[in-house]
């Protein structure tokens, strides 16, 4: 699919289908279908990061809902998997610039769209900073790698994290200012809709129909 709008439509339709599904079979099929995004190399390369986010969430949801009934727990985990897979695949396959263009097309204010797309980069910076800070503090002897002492050392870990976040935000703001952020030109986004985009959107509509039919 070429046009980011088509990917966005498919995301909305897939999420709708997942929300409308009531039977475990439909949920299972939709989740299995969602898992097929792993054929895409951009998604495959971030499998570990996805699992890091999914497994703890699934364990929490699954354990909590298991208290009611096993089937409810399975329902919750399948729904969670599907709901995480959709946005994950969308953001892994759509560049921030394209997300920004889609947001403009949806008439979302320009400044909001830009902030959103830059925030994504900022999250990546913050995530790599967290790792770097942890490693650097370990080299200073802070016991962040010892089972119990790490909790006592946590406040000291949070100080550089906080300072680093502010510093990064300040630097980012400075560079945006010096590179003309206040003067974003009011150009209209340009898209190219292809046959594959129509087919993808149609598949999304069919998924919603399937979900309704199996209710």
């Amino acid at each position: 699919m070429n046009d980011p709008r088509a990917r966005f439509f498919l995301l909305v339709l897939y999420t709708t289908a997942l929300s409308l599904a009531t039977s475990l079979t439909t949920l299972g099929l939709l989740t299995a279908l969602g898992s097929s995004v792993w054929v895409l190399p951009q998604v495959r390369t971030s499998t570990r990061a996805f699992l890091k986010a999914f497994i703890p969430s699934a364990l929490v949801f699954g354990t909590v809902t298991w208290a009611f009934q096993g089937a409810i727990a399975l329902d919750a985990v399948l729904r969670l998997a599907g709901l995480m897979l959709g946005p994950w695949a969308f953001f892994q396959t759509t560049e921030p610039e394209s997300v920004y263009q889609v947001m403009l097309w949806l008439r979302i204010p320009r400044s909001w769209g830009f902030t959103f797309s830059v925030s994504r980069q900022f999250l990546e910076i913050l995530s790599s900073d967290l790792t770097e800070i942890r490693h650097n503090l370990l080299t200073r002897g802070l016991p962040l790698d010892r089972p119990l002492k790490r909790w006592l050392a946590l406040p000291r870990f949070l100080l550089p994290v906080l300072v680093s976040s502010f510093h990064t935000a300040e630097q980012l703001a400075e560079t945006l200012e010096t590179r003309g952020i206040g003067q974003l030109p009011k150009t209209k986004p340009t898209f190219r809709w292809k046959k594959s985009d129509s087919l993808g959107t149609l598949a999304g509509v069919l998924l919603v129909g399937f979900s309704l039919w199996t209710r």
Binding site: E95, P96, E97, V118, Q121, F122, E124, I125, S128, D129, E132, I133, H135, N136, L137, L138, T139, R140, G141, L142, P143, L144, D145, R146, R156, F157, L159, P160, V163, S164, H167, T168, Q171, L172, A173, E174, T175, L176, E177, T178, R179, G180, I181, G182, Q183, L184, P185, T187
Partner: protein
């Protein structure tokens, strides 16, 4: 009204940041015209970066504080005009490139400013020209954050060069650059100057730039003075174990991609080592690997006969001191004094005489009660180097220890290395220039280690 050709007029310009007790920039005078190169010099903490921020129109609207004097930049009152009025006139390339990149690729990064200028037809060619000028054409599709430190600097320079500003402000552009990149940068500075751009460079390593310099401006701060060398204290150093050093077998290292591959070596902890190599050759990667914070993607690395990944990194702090490139990310205390003492206390190696000597040696006495995050870039570097020594480790792993330091403190790094030998400490350091007094050297090139 500005005089013809006159771009900058600074009369008694000073600045004191909000919350600071003393001004970060003392009264400064400057008259500069188009096509000139102004070399800003001064010790760490003398206000070079602050002056550049003033010239870029960021004070006091962006960084709050109290300005002094009168500063006119290309006809604008720099202390009254909005920062956005400086866009297209003035380009500031800051010291830290890492947090200035926010686009998914270098192409988009360079194109960002051009789009804001409203360019469409010539956008691609301007982006390609800028990337070619800094030698990063092969990396146009790569995210800037994934380039090496030196390449990131050049990438950010390309972003600003593409805008073709009237005034180019460069804050320590040569730090962390290898010889080729430095040569390229000097050519770029010469080209910009010949095209009528006013270039103002803050730099400790002034010698390569002197050939092009029209005016040298030295900033002085009454609070900054190099302390005299003191005799070594009679510190109670712990007895040294019979260290066997590192043993690497078929190792490959790298963050996102493999930077060093098929590495086999036996590296004893003594007598120290100097690691040289071009930007992106893997110097920082190797140091992180030796400290254990970057486990090998393939192969095995042992330290003292035990796999490094099985050893607690915090426990090793009493054996392996480490100072990485980003000083900020090593600090976790509220004052300089606490920061200096922290590692020593955590490792059970508190020695007042040793810590006092370190504070004096690195000029930290007068800064003892200041928060580490309020220090200048050079002061942070000095604090980090001192803190890495506080726990009296056996080996020091220093990544570009002289980067960002003025010439006096660069010399102090060298004399300190000599002093450390008396205590049986060895230093393994990376440095572009290769000037550190270390007997053994290795050169990294294209992911290989040549001993």
């Amino acid at each position: 009204m500005k005089a013809p050709g006159s771009m900058i007029s600074a009369i008694g310009v000073g600045f004191q940041y909000s919350g600071y007790e003393t001004p970060s920039l003392g009264p400064t005078e400057l008259e500069a015209q188009e096509g000139q190169l102004i070399l800003l010099q001064g010790e760490n903490g003398s206000g070079k970066s602050t002056f550049l921020r003033c010239l870029a129109g960021l004070m006091p609207q962006f960084y709050q504080g109290t300005p002094q004097g009168k500063l006119t930049v290309d006809g604008l009152d720099a202390f009254a005009a909005e920062p956005r009025e400086f866009f297209g006139r003035c380009a500031l390339v800051s010291q830290e490139p890492r947090s200035q990149a926010f686009c998914p690729s270098l192409f988009e990064e360079i194109a960002f400013g051009l789009r804001n200028l409203g360019l469409k037809q010539t956008l691609t060619s301007r982006v390609e020209d800028a990337a070619e000028a800094v030698g990063l054409t092969p990396f146009l599709g790569h995210p800037v954050r994934k380039l090496s430190g030196g390449q990131q600097k050049l990438a950010l320079l390309a972003c600003h060069l593409a805008l073709r500003p009237k005034i180019l402000l460069l804050d320590e552009p040569l730090a962390n650059l290898d010889e080729d990149s430095q040569r390229r940068l000097l050519q770029l500075v010469a080209r910009e100057k010949s095209q009528g751009t006013l270039v103002i460079v803050s730099e400790h390593q002034s010698s390569p730039l002197r050939a092009y310099t029209d005016v040298e401006l030295t900033l002085n701060s009454p609070t900054v003075q190099l302390p005299d060398e003191q005799p070594l204290p009679l510190a109670n150093f712990p007895p040294r174990s019979a260290s066997t050093g590192w043993q690497a077998k078929d190792c490959a290292w790298g963050h996102q991609a493999v930077v060093l591959s098929d590495i086999n070596f036996h590296l004893p902890t003594h007598p120290g080592l100097l690691i040289t190599g071009a930007n992106g050759s893997g110097k920082s990667t190797l140091l992180k690997a030796l400290r254990g914070i970057l486990p090998p993607r393939r192969g095995h690395l042992d330290f003292n006969g035990v796999p490094l990944k099985k050893q607690r990194l915090s426990h090793l702090a009493s054996v392996l001191g480490y100072a990485g490139q980003h000083s900020d990310q090593h600090f976790f205390c509220l004052t300089v004094k606490e920061e200096l003492e922290a590692s020593a206390r955590l490792c059970g190696r508190y020695d007042a005489a040793w810590l006092g000597w370190l504070a004096h040696q690195w000029g930290l006495d007068s800064l003892a009660e200041r928060p580490p995050y309020h220090l200048s870039g050079g002061e942070k570097r000095r604090l980090l180097l001192a803190a890495s020594l506080a726990a009296q480790p056996e080996v020091l792993l220093w990544d570009e220890p002289t980067a960002g330091l003025d010439s006096a403190y660069q010399n102090r790094v060298k004399t300190t290395i000599s002093h450390l030998k008396h205590y049986g400490l060895s230093v393994i350091a990376s440095e572009h220039q290769g000037t550190l007094p270390l007997e053994r050297r290795i050169h990294l090139t294209q992911g290989q280690v040549f001993l």
